[in-house]
Each structure stands twice: as structure tokens, then as C-alpha cells.
């Protein structure tokens, strides 16, 4: 216990935190059923414990990946814009701004299976079949040049597969490498001869300001993910960061009839869409098509956007985004277009859908 705290603390906590000795005698809760445990207990460990039966190779995986993952993670798992990169970055860990990917950084393939199986695709987690996950795992390893495209990954061999950085981790050693030197008596006087300012935050100027300031382009800035946004990115980033209020401005003039409170509420709901859809002046296609003037327009017709076959066909067949179709689609995208590329769980509340449709309707072409 001394690893976590000294003895006095433990004693103190024992007094405040421990509850009357009960030895499991409350009799609260009920036994969990095997089906319930099976439904929730999905975690997979490095030794392969927890893997479901199944298999897949990169050839199959590529198809699923292109369909369900590439919109954010790129065709070759190399990442789009600021979305996570899953491939590349080999031998960069000891350089400035290392690129940490499955190939360059992750210690275990089990983690990849576990995470995709449980949490991806973003917005439609827990919808993949085990074979699809094995296939995607193979495709991501293939994209990192770690296997050939016909190499089959299965519950039999996944745990034995060794990733390049498997040996690159060690258990927290602050106790031996830091605590002694950081526990010297604190200096109070004459602690140094001279003090000079060596760096100013205003040089980078990446602090979010007031709305009229426009958000700074983060040239050399580095975030939680560690990687500095690429030099080529500031343009897109600045655009994405443009305050929503500005984007909505031209629209408000056009539909004086619509309820402004509703439009404002819709603008808030639209934050859930903004990761994939841009609106307002100069909006470009991103993960999803730009949505200016989409209400009552034909489906799948925004120039330059690569729609799913089904969405494109719906447009050719003359289907339009009227109120009813928008409601169905936004409640559950797949209920209208079964194989749509839009991986979004849907807006459950009718009032959210009404609001976002009003907001979209307020945007001119």
C-alpha cells in the first residue's frame, strides 16, 4: 500500500471511508444471468482471453474498412484531417512529435480487436460482426506493412502476433527516477542568479479568443494526441473553427418566416453533425456532403461528393429531402437508405429533428 500513500493516510481513510463491516451481508442486487454477462463482458486481453470465434484477412477487411471506417480514418488507415491515424509513423517515437499509430506504437493486437469491436465505427459502435472485426484488424496490420493481404487473422493466432513496439513499455518508475530528486528541501532565497523569459505563448497565438477574433491556425501547436496538426492543415482547421454564429448569418435574412428560436435550437443540434457536414458560405464537402440548401433538394446530388451507391440511386430516382424523408433519415439513417455511408446513430427526439431541419431550411444554397 505504501506505493500509493503513506500509512497515516491509510489509517485516516480507513476511518472516514470504510463502512460498517458487513461481509457481503446486505443482500442487495440479484444474480447476473449468463446471457447478461455474455452480452456485456466483451473485453479481450493480450493473451487472447475473451476473443470470439472468427477470422478474416485484409482483402475482406479492406471492403468493410472502405465502407465503414475510411471516411474518417482514410482509405489506407492514414487518417483524414484531424481524425486518428491508424497506420504509419514507424521509428518516430524518439523524435519530436512522434506519430503514434497501431503499427508504430500499440503493444497488443488484442487491444485493436477489443476497441474496434466495442467502440467503432464512431457513432455506430457494437454493430460489427466478429468476422468483420478480424478482417479490419488484418487490413490495419496490412496497411502498416506488417502482414500480406491474404494473411488470415483468427481467434487462434491473434494473441501470438507481435507488434513492433510490444517491448516499448515499462511500468511507472517515477518513484525511483523522480521522487527522490523532487523531494529535496525547497529553496527560498537566491535560488538562481538570473531569470530570462525564454518563450512567449503569444508567439504561437493558438489561444481561443472572443468570437470576433477568429480562431488561430495552430501552426506549431500540439494537442492531447501529441501530434502537431500538419502544416498543410490550418486552412481547413480555420474554416471548421469559424464561429457558428457567422455561418448562420446570411441565412437568417432568407427565411424570416421560420421561428428564430427553433432555428437557434437547430443550430445547437447541428453540433452533432458538424464533425462531418459543413454549412454556410464557402462550405466544402468533408466526411459528409456540405448541406447548404439541402431541404427540398434531390438526394445525393451535391457536386463532388462520393455518395453510397444507394443514396446516389435514390437521387437519380427523383427522391427529394422533404420534411418526411429528413425525419425518417435523421431518426435512423439506415431505415431510409439501408446502406448509407452516414455512420450516425440518429436523433431520437422529434423536437431535435424538427429544430435541425428548421436550421437546415434557413441555410441558402
Amino acid at each position: 500500500m505504501s506505493k500509493y500513500r503513506n500509512l497515516t493516510t491509510a489509517a485516516l481513510l480507513a476511518a472516514t471511508l470504510s463502512t460498517p463491516a458487513l461481509a457481503g451481508g446486505l443482500g442487495l442486487g440479484r444474480a447476473a444471468l449468463p446471457e447478461e454477462i455474455a452480452a456485456w463482458d466483451k473485453d479481450v486481453r493480450p493473451d487472447g482471453v475473451g476473443l470470439p470465434v472468427g477470422s478474416g484477412d485484409a482483402i475482406v477487411g479492406e471492403e468493410v474498412f472502405a465502407d465503414k471506417c475510411a471516411a474518417c480514418h482514410g482509405d489506407f488507415a492514414e487518417g483524414v484531417d484531424n481524425w486518428p491515424k491508424l497506420a504509419g509513423g514507424m521509428n518516430t517515437l524518439n523524435r519530436d512529435d512522434p506519430l503514434k499509430t497501431v503499427g508504430s506504437y500499440w503493444p497488443h493486437v488484442s487491444t485493436l480487436f477489443d476497441y474496434i469491436n466495442r467502440s467503432m465505427p464512431f457513432g455506430a459502435a457494437q454493430t460489427l460482426e466478429p468476422d468483420e472485426v478480424y478482417g479490419i484488424v488484418a487490413y490495419i496490420l496490412y496497411s502498416n506493412d506488417l502482414i500480406e493481404d491474404d494473411y488470415v487473422i483468427s481467434n487462434e493466432n491473434l494473441a501470438a502476433f507481435e507488434l513492433p513496439n510490444a517491448a516499448g513499455f515499462f511500468v511507472d518508475d517515477r518513484e525511483t527516477t523522480e521522487y527522490a530528486q523532487f523531494s529535496a528541501p525547497a529553496c527560498m532565497e537566491n535560488c538562481k542568479d538570473e531569470v530570462k523569459i525564454t518563450m512567449h505563448a503569444t508567439v504561437l497565438d493558438v489561444t481561443p479568443g472572443d468570437p470576433t477574433d477568429g480562431e488561430g491556425a495552430p501552426a506549431g501547436a500540439s494537442g492531447e494526441g501529441g501530434a502537431a496538426p500538419a502544416a498543410a492543415e490550418p486552412e481547413t482547421k480555420a474554416e471548421e473553427a469559424a464561429p457558428a454564429a457567422e455561418q448562420a448569418a446570411p441565412a437568417a435574412v432568407e427565411v424570416a418566416a421560420a421561428d428564430p428560436a427553433m432555428i437557434a435550437a437547430g443550430e445547437k443540434v447541428f453540433k452533432k453533425c458538424a464533425a462531418c457536414h459543413k454549412v454556410g458560405e464557402g462550405a466544402k464537402n468533408g466526411t459528409g456532403p456540405m448541406l447548404n440548401g439541402i431541404v427540398n433538394s434531390p438526394m445525393g446530388m451535391v457536386e463532388g461528393f462520393k455518395y453510397s451507391a444507394e443514396m446516389a440511386a435514390a437521387g437519380t430516382d427523383g427522391m427529394i429531402w422533404d420534411d418526411a424523408n429528413l425525419h425518417t433519415f435523421l431518426e435512423k439513417p439506415k431505415s431510409l437508405i439501408a446502406k448509407t455511408k452516414m455512420s450516425f446513430a440518429g436523433l431520437k427526439k422529434p423536437e431535435d429533428r424538427d429544430a435541425v431541419i428548421a436550421y437546415l431550411g434557413s441555410l441558402g444554397k
Binding site: A186, C191, V195
Partner: protein, 426 residues
């Protein structure tokens, strides 16, 4: 209304440009007017509207929010950090708060797949794995268990993580705002786990949330049984949705990512799961490219919250309150020192109350400011004798790429005009 300009000033005072404009326009005039006393103050000599008419009735706000003059005291995010706001983070406005308790409404949020709406009726908590009886609890079951109330800070391991390679963000909200401190009410994990009967071979506890990210993490059983708890109340009221309503995990002194929100399952195991959040993320890469894992505990740290870039000195020379926060995941704060010359000399600050284990401590330093330039720093010492290090000391051990666990001494350069900037010093 004469107090309006003051409010406007605060609103635009977050940027350098805004601050200068505001001082020029209203700041000095206001100070002169209030302080000089040469002409009678109409706020005193004339009957004011609020002193004559009537205010709002009792039910005007069944649940009250801060008065509109405080509308700038809000969470803010840094949009370029993440691709979207669903998997993202924002920051507590620590620069504008005082005391130690963080109001839930402005306590920072970090989600990996958005804040979900989960009702008490739909809530289930499962305990399985190496236990005598795998169990399922409803929310109502949890409310019938022996209860505890304790105050702890929660700090994201990435707090100050953007400052490793150099001074970057201008404001304590952005450099140190991934922290909050609340009084939690709930049930200890010991009570819960004893209900299920943990087997002797169970050395780890895997915990996960009900949201799409699940945010699974492995915690040593020793820690789980020692002082961890589940919380359903914070600061006396139900948790907010964004903090895991109806139930979250509390892991005192350890990094915020372990405090799983919307907690749905705890599995007793004999090995860590090594999930994405404990391999790809929340591991600290050293200069040589190898990485520390399981760096759970948050080391002692402090920051001056005011004056700071978002809180310039606007009152001119004379009495100045220098204040800030200190905390340690390894014990209680025993002292905080303040330096005004970039670390050449230090003086002890006054603690608002004696430090408590793994909770925020407020410190004050009363200073007679004569418009001198200051390189303002604070330095915390905790009950283990650990003294908050400089950034140079940390870099010497870890390099600049470790992203997480940056507990270095922060420097604000306060200029003669009262404006402050985030800087690094030699």
C-alpha cells in the same frame, strides 16, 4: 446601468487585443470614478431602480443559474485540439472561480463518444469475473447501501499537456483547466465488491462505461478496495449528464480517465486488459521512445489562477490578491510558495484551509503591487515531502513528448500595465 461596461470588459478581456481596448475605453475611467471620491457618487446619492421597484418573485427560476453579469464564467474548448466536439475536451474557468469546490455547471468535460442520456430507471451495474456471485444492481439498490461523502479533485492526465514543448495557451483556464473538485456522495467499491465476494486470485478490476466508447480501464484491486467509490451525487445534487449521470467512478488522486462515467460493469480479473485507454493513450513517451505505462497517480501541482492572462490587474497600484490552487494525488498539500521574480526568491502563501487528502487547496498571497513587472509562479509541497518541479527538471527526465502528467511550475509574466502572459523562463 453603470455596471454594464464592467461586464462587457470582462467578456472581451480574454484576449490581449480585447483587454487593451477595454482598459482604454472603460477601465481607467471606472477606477477613477469609484476611487477618487471628489464628486459624490450617483450610485449612492441617487435612488436606484433596484432600490425602489421590485425584483423577481421566488419562482422566477425554479433552478437558478448565475446572474447574467457572470455569463463569461463558462467552460471553453480549444477547437483545434480534436477533430470534433463529440470526442473532445473543454476547460474549467478556474481563472474566475475562488474557494475550492467546482460548480458542476462549469466543471470541465471530456467525452470519448459524447455525453449520453441514461436515466436512473435504465441504469444497471454489473459485477462479474472472479467473484463468488456475479451480481446486477439497479440504481435503487445502490441508494440502499451504506453511504459515504468525500471531496476529491479530478484532474485529466493531459492537463497542461499542451505546454510540454513550450508556453502555448494564454490563460490558466486553458493551461490548467482540465480539473475540478467536488464533494461526492456514494458507496465505496469495497462495499459493492464484498456483496459479490471477490476471490483471492482477483488482483485487478476492469471498469467500463455504458457509452459507445466504454472507456474500459484496469485498476489494481488493492486501490479499488482502498479508497475508490461510486458516486451518484456531486456537491449535494445528482451528477450532471456530462459527468456520468446517474453513476460514475471516483478514483481519488489518480488520473481522470480512470473515473469511468456511466459506470456499467466491474470485472474482477487476474490480469490487466490493456485496453486502448491504457496503451494507445494515457501512456507517457520518454525522449528515447520508450513509454511509461500505468502512470496513474497525479503528482503535486499548483497554479496561480489570478492574476493570469484572462485575469489582468485592472485596479492600478496598491493591494493585490494573488491566488491559486494546489493539489496532490499522493496526499495533502502542506504548503505553497509564491515567487514574483521567476523563481529567484520564494515566500510562503497563506492556505485558505489546511490541505486535505487528494482535494484542491486554495492559497492566497496578499501583495502591495506598485506596477512592477512580475514573473509570477507558485510551487506546491505535499505531505510526502514532494516539491512541485520546474518544467526543465521534468524535461530532463522525460523529454518533451510525454503528453501526460505535466505538473511543472507555471510562469505568468505580469507587465506594468497589469496584463499577463504565459511564458517560460530560464
Amino acid at each position: 446601468m453603470s455596471n454594464e461596461p464592467l461586464n462587457d470588459k470582462a467578456m472581451i478581456g480574454t484576449t490581449r487585443r480585447g483587454f487593451l481596448a477595454a482598459t482604454a475605453a472603460t477601465g481607467t475611467a471606472l477606477v477613477a470614478n469609484a476611487a477618487s471620491g471628489a464628486t459624490p457618487d450617483p450610485l449612492i446619492t441617487e435612488v436606484q431602480e433596484w432600490g425602489s421597484g421590485l425584483g423577481d418573485g421566488v419562482d422566477a427560476n425554479p433552478y437558478g443559474l448565475p446572474i447574467r453579469f457572470e455569463s463569461d464564467v463558462v467552460r471553453r474548448n480549444v477547437s483545434w485540439l480534436t477533430a470534433d466536439v463529440i470526442s473532445s475536451i473543454n476547460f474549467t474557468p478556474i481563472h474566475a472561480l475562488d474557494g475550492t469546490i467546482t460548480p458542476q455547471g462549469c466543471a470541465f468535460e471530456r467525452h470519448h463518444s459524447g455525453a449520453i442520456e441514461l436515466s436512473k430507471d435504465d441504469y444497471r451495474l454489473m459485477i462479474n469475473g472472479l467473484v463468488d456471485t456475479p451480481l446486477v444492481f439497479t440504481y435503487a439498490d445502490l441508494e440502499r447501501m451504506p453511504r459515504v461523502t468525500r471531496t476529491f479533485f479530478l484532474e485529466c492526465a493531459a492537463n497542461t499537456g499542451m505546454e510540454w514543448a513550450g508556453a502555448q495557451l494564454n490563460g490558466s483556464q486553458f493551461t490548467h483547466g482540465m480539473i475540478h473538485n467536488m464533494e461526492y456522495t456514494g458507496v465505496t467499491l469495497r462495499t459493492l465488491l464484498e456483496e459479490a465476494g471477490v476471490q483471492p486470485t482477483a488482483t485487478w478490476l476492469f471498469v467500463e462505461g455504458a457509452d459507445a466508447s466504454s472507456n474500459g480501464r484496469s485498476i489494481p484491486m488493492e486501490k479499488a478496495l482502498d479508497d475508490c467509490m461510486i458516486a451518484f451525487k456531486a456537491n449535494g445534487e445528482a451528477l450532471r449528464m456530462e459527468h456520468g449521470y446517474p453513476v460514475r467512478l471516483v478514483v481519488p488522486g489518480w488520473e481522470g480517465n480512470l473515473w469511468v462515467k456511466w459506470l456499467r460493469r466491474m470485472e474482477a480479473t487476474d490480469a490487466p486488459v490493456e485496453s486502448r485507454e491504457e496503451t494507445s493513450k494515457y501512456t507517457d513517451t520518454m525522449a528515447d521512445g520508450t513509454s511509461r505505462k500505468w502512470t496513474w497517480v497525479m503528482d503535486a501541482k499548483s497554479v496561480v489562477t489570478s492574476p493570469s492572462p484572462q485575469m489582468p490587474i485592472t485596479h492600478g497600484n496598491g493591494p493585490l490578491v494573488i491566488t491559486g490552487l494546489a493539489w496532490s494525488g499522493r496526499g495533502a498539500i502542506t504548503g505553497v510558495d509564491v515567487s514574483m521574480d521567476g523563481g529567484k526568491t520564494w515566500k510562503p502563501a497563506r492556505l485558505a484551509a489546511p490541505g486535505t487528502e487528494m482535494a484542491l487547496t486554495r492559497f492566497y498571497f496578499d501583495h502591495n503591487w506598485q506596477g512592477e513587472e512580475m514573473l509570477l509562479q507558485s510551487r506546491a509541497t505535499d505531505s510526502t515531502g514532494y516539491v512541485q518541479p520546474t518544467k526543465a527538471q521534468l524535461r530532463e527526465v522525460r523529454g518533451e513528448n510525454s503528453v501526460y502528467h505535466n505538473n511543472c511550475i507555471q510562469t505568468w509574466w505580469v507587465k506594468p500595465n497589469g496584463e499577463a502572459e504565459n511564458v517560460e523562463v530560464s
